[in-house]
Amino acid sequence: MTKELKIIEALGRHEDDASIDVLEDLGTNSSREDVREETAKALIRKNNEKALRIVIANKGKGVNDLSTKVAITTVNSLLALDDKEELLKIIDDTINDNSEEEVKNTARSIRALINLSN
C-alpha cells in the first residue's frame, strides 16, 4: 500500500469529522482510480450521513463514478456494512429528492441489491 493510500485509510478512521472534507476534496476528485477507490472505502467506513451522502448522491463520485471498478468496489463496501440504517435513509432521500435521474437509478439499484442480500 502506498503512502497516499495509507493517509486516506487514516483519514477514514480519523475521529475528526473534518477528515470527510479532506477525503471529498482530495480523494474523490483525484484522477487516480486507486485513490478514488480507497477514498470511497474510507468514507463508507465512517458510516455517517455526511460521508455516505458523498458516495451515493453525487454524480461522478462513489457508486456514480465513471470507472466501473470504483463504482463496483463502492457498492460492495456498502453491502458489507453491518449497520445499514443510515445508508437506507440516504438511499431513500436520493431516490425521492435527487435532481439527477442517473443518480436516482443507481440508488434504486443499490436499494434492490440490499433487499436481495438481506
Binding site: 500500500m1 503512502k3 493517509i7 485509510e9 487514516a10 475528526d16 473534518a18 482530495l26
Partner: protein, 148 residues
C-alpha cells in the same frame, strides 16, 4: 626390589629413583604439547600467549574454546533477557498506563474506547501513526503525495 606374589614367584617393582625418573619423563611429555594449557601450567602458571587474541580464536585449544563458548552463552542469555524486557515489560508498563486512563472513564467512554481498540486490530502501524496527526496536517501530506 621384588614383591612376593601368590602361587610362588616374584615380581620386580620399580625403585624410588625409577619412579622419580618416570614422573619427570611424564611431565616433559605433557609440556611438549603446544596446544594444551593445562600441560603448560606445570611450568609455573599459564603461558601469557595462550590468552593472546590469535589464540582466543584457536579451535585447537580446548580451554580457550570452552571460555569462548561460555562467553557466547552469557552474551546470548543477556540478549534474551533484553528481548524479554522489551517484549514483555514494555507492554505491561503501557497496559498499566492504560488501566490508569480507563479508571477515569465513564461507561459510555469505555464502550467507545473498547469498540475503537477492536476496530484497530490488524491496522497497519503507519496508518495508526497518521491517525494520531491532526486532519489539516494529513490534508497537506495527502496533497503533497497526490500532486508530487
Amino acid at each position: 626390589m621384588y614383591l612376593k606374589i601368590e602361587k610362588g614367584g616374584f615380581m620386580k617393582i620399580p625403585s624410588i629413583s625409577n619412579l622419580n625418573l618416570f614422573r619427570t619423563k611424564q611431565v616433559n611429555t605433557i609440556n611438549q604439547s603446544q596446544n594444551n594449557p593445562f600441560a603448560q601450567s606445570f611450568n609455573g602458571g599459564l603461558r601469557s600467549d595462550v590468552f593472546q587474541s590469535s589464540n582466543m580464536n584457536s579451535t585447537a585449544n580446548p580451554f580457550v574454546e570452552t571460555t569462548a563458548n561460555i562467553m557466547k552463552s552469557i552474551t546470548s542469555t543477556m540478549q534474551k533477557v533484553k528481548d524479554y524486557s522489551k517484549n514483555v515489560f514494555a507492554p505491561v508498563i503501557s497496559f498499566a498506563g492504560n488501566v490508569k486512563r480507563i479508571a477515569t472513564m465513564d461507561i459510555g467512554e469505555l464502550g467507545h474506547a473498547i469498540k475503537n481498540e477492536i476496530s484497530m486490530i490488524g491496522v497497519d502501524s503507519e496508518v495508526k501513526g497518521y491517525m494520531r496527526r491532526p486532519v489539516n496536517e494529513l490534508r497537506d501530506l495527502l496533497a503533497l503525495e497526490l500532486n508530487g
